[in-house]
Amino acid sequence: MSVRRLAPPELQPKSFAFTAENLAWAKQQLAKYPPGRQQSAIIPLLWRAQQQAGGWLPEPAIRYVADFLGVAHIRALEVATFYTMFNLQPVGRFHVQLCGTTPCRLRGADELERVCRARIGAPGAVTHDGKFSWVEVECLGACVNAPMVQINEDYYEDLTAESFGRILDELAAGRKVKPGPQIDRQLSAPVGGPTTLKEKA
């Protein structure tokens, strides 16, 4: 892991405020906590702020959430910099999180990484059209379907360089892609159908 910093001032928006819908949602979240413990809602609120801001946390959003919860700004910054899933730098419209932990590596994450580098560029960089960015992350917990990536909210599993490249093409063209295993397999069941418990009970 390396030092994570806020995005440079020229990339920061002037201000940030929750949309009416998010504001209502945030107030609902606050109600979950006993009086005086509202600051516990900081992670869900930062998360929602990140979604609203387009997948990353601008500095005004961190301040906004801190003020919203009545805590010092530094307290929100501590949380935002602690958790790597809060992106402090702008990301592409499709943010690819490539699992690079051992099972995915053994099953071909290297190839996916090559695709990323060729199609998108260096980790953390955003493509010129603003559509893609990628980072390598630790285990995303879908080892049985390795190798896999997460793009925005969805998992894409059982990838090869070709299928991954196709997914990126489809997304770039604005078409929908089916998330989950990209081969003939039901969720994380064995490839090619069940191998046990085949008889009816």
Partner: protein, 689 residues
Amino acid sequence: MMRLIVDGREIDVPPEYTLLQACEAAGAEIPRFCFHERLSIAGNCRMCLVEVVGIPKPQASCAMAVKDLPPNKDGSPKKVNTRTPMVKKAREGVMEFLLINHPLDCPICDQGGECDLQDQAMAYGVDASRYAENKRAVEDKYIGPLVKTIMTRCIHCTRCIRFSTEVAGVPELGAIGRGEDMEITTYLEHAMTSELQGNVVDLCPVGALTSKPYAFSARPWELTKTQSIDVMDALGSAIRIDTRGREVMRILPRVNDDVNEEWISDKTRHVVDGLRTQRLDQPYVRDQGRLRPASWAEAFAAIVAKVKATEPQRIGAIAGDLCAAEEMYALKDLLTRLGSANIDARQDGAAFDPSWGRATYLFNATIAGIDRADALLIIGSNPRREAAVLNARIRKRWRAGHFPIALIGEKCDLTYPYDYLGGGAETLAGIGKSRFAEAVRRAERPIVLLGAGAVTRDDGAAVAALAARTAIELGAVKHGWNGFSVLHHAASRVAALDLGLVPGAGGKTAAQMAAGAVDVLFLLAADEIDVKPGPFVIYIGTHGDRGAHRADVILPGAAYPEKSGLYVNTEGRVQLANRAGFPPGDAREDWAILRALSERLGARLPYDSLAALRERLFTAHPPLMRLGEVVPGDIEDIGKLAKRGGDPRRDVLKSPIDDFYLTNPIARASAVMAECSALAQAAARTAAE
């Protein structure tokens, strides 16, 4: 009580003790970085590991309570070892990890010689490094004009974060990132705004946070350390003045649980450079409108000529805020011998009068008494500006819970929440009906804190009487508890009132004298009063400040580190400030100037040494002899004050201090204080927008 066996020694400790406290009670020494008695427990440095027999792994003793130890099956007391090879090995392992990323720059580090890490590495460090990988390097942060950061040295103990959050109450410091990449900083490197921020330098166990104004100026072993008393506010915080040669290099706090615990304000700590600049180092005489350097003889001759030509009733004297008891006693003595009753130490016009009784102008609850109090009403005061360390004490009590606080006066950020009742005296008069009053009546030991600023108005006596009446009505004054507490902001004030430095029969007040009711006016380091044209002003003081600019004759005196003097703090505690250096150039100690001058004036003061002066002072005012003690006032006086009555006006009861950093001539001469002041003013402007 629970029984433990620490290093073979049986000891009974309360169950809520931590293992570290228990080990210390048993006389064992436990190394630590993150643990601090006055801060919450973090348990993140792991240096305090001990062995608990029955638990396979070493335990962090600071974070393990005695009552949480699993009991032995046979019910025998738990054994704790602090000196076994296992403990030593464990601590050596921790030390090795700490040193992995700690730079080996002790020779250029300001903490060198007084560094916890350095000291403990002597006991637990290994001589060579096994670490071949790249070391971590961290960018230095700007966190204000007082604290310099060299963040590569940080060992992540988080003491500074806990201090600013818990004690100072201004949660500005934090740790961003995580693991090896954790970094201490303020939000986007804004300057800290606490008046107590200098204390994080003392708390830092390594050289990550060091004093910026003191950077690279001295090594601890070259300094002569003198225990003394601070005069920047009326608390009389215990300080240590470090000098090299004749120069004061820095000021550090000493532990005094009754007054300042172990904190001091930034003004106390960083006023040092003000002791070097703008100093008066020789007498001056005004000649054709301009001050010109003169000899002592010339200066005295000018004074003698003027005094001899003036009627005694037209001679007066005003004592300033930083004066010690000795020189104020000598000044009063001199004026009495000259036949004048025009003497006053209340430059700000505070209405306190010694004839009301001592209890009417003391912080009767005592500073340590705040810890026992269970309700607080603040009247016309901003304790954060008037006595920052006292404010931290109030905050500490508030954090302990069940401590209703209300404020009458100007709204301000005190670092703890309070009920704002209103601004003026009419709120005070009508407080009986408020919800807060009900809470106070249920309290056993409420404090009514009256800011000295609230009684500086011309209706000050009526405000004081009303405050006393309120205190009695709310049950703050009763047998065994006197909660009527006056918070002064001038270090000399209580001693001056004790010594009776108020106008005698037919005497004139400071305001009258400054307005021209006298022809010859002695200003003993009195800089906070504006003397109108007219009187011939003799200024005895240390700095080329307001008093010196107005003066016709300047006699250079000694600043507080340059003289031995008695100070009485706001609670009535008599404390002795020791001399750490000598006044510059031809300057002399103030009492000696008065003694020499008295001889020329034909009114010789009968003491030739400070000891002889103190002897007479103690004979005349025996309570001043009780060093270090609080000499309490008579509780009946509060009742008498309450009966004085009066009808105060309705305007807001304001604190007299607008700028915490520039309250006296020494602070105004200090470049560091000026920078802090500018930052604070800018921050206040931004907050207002």
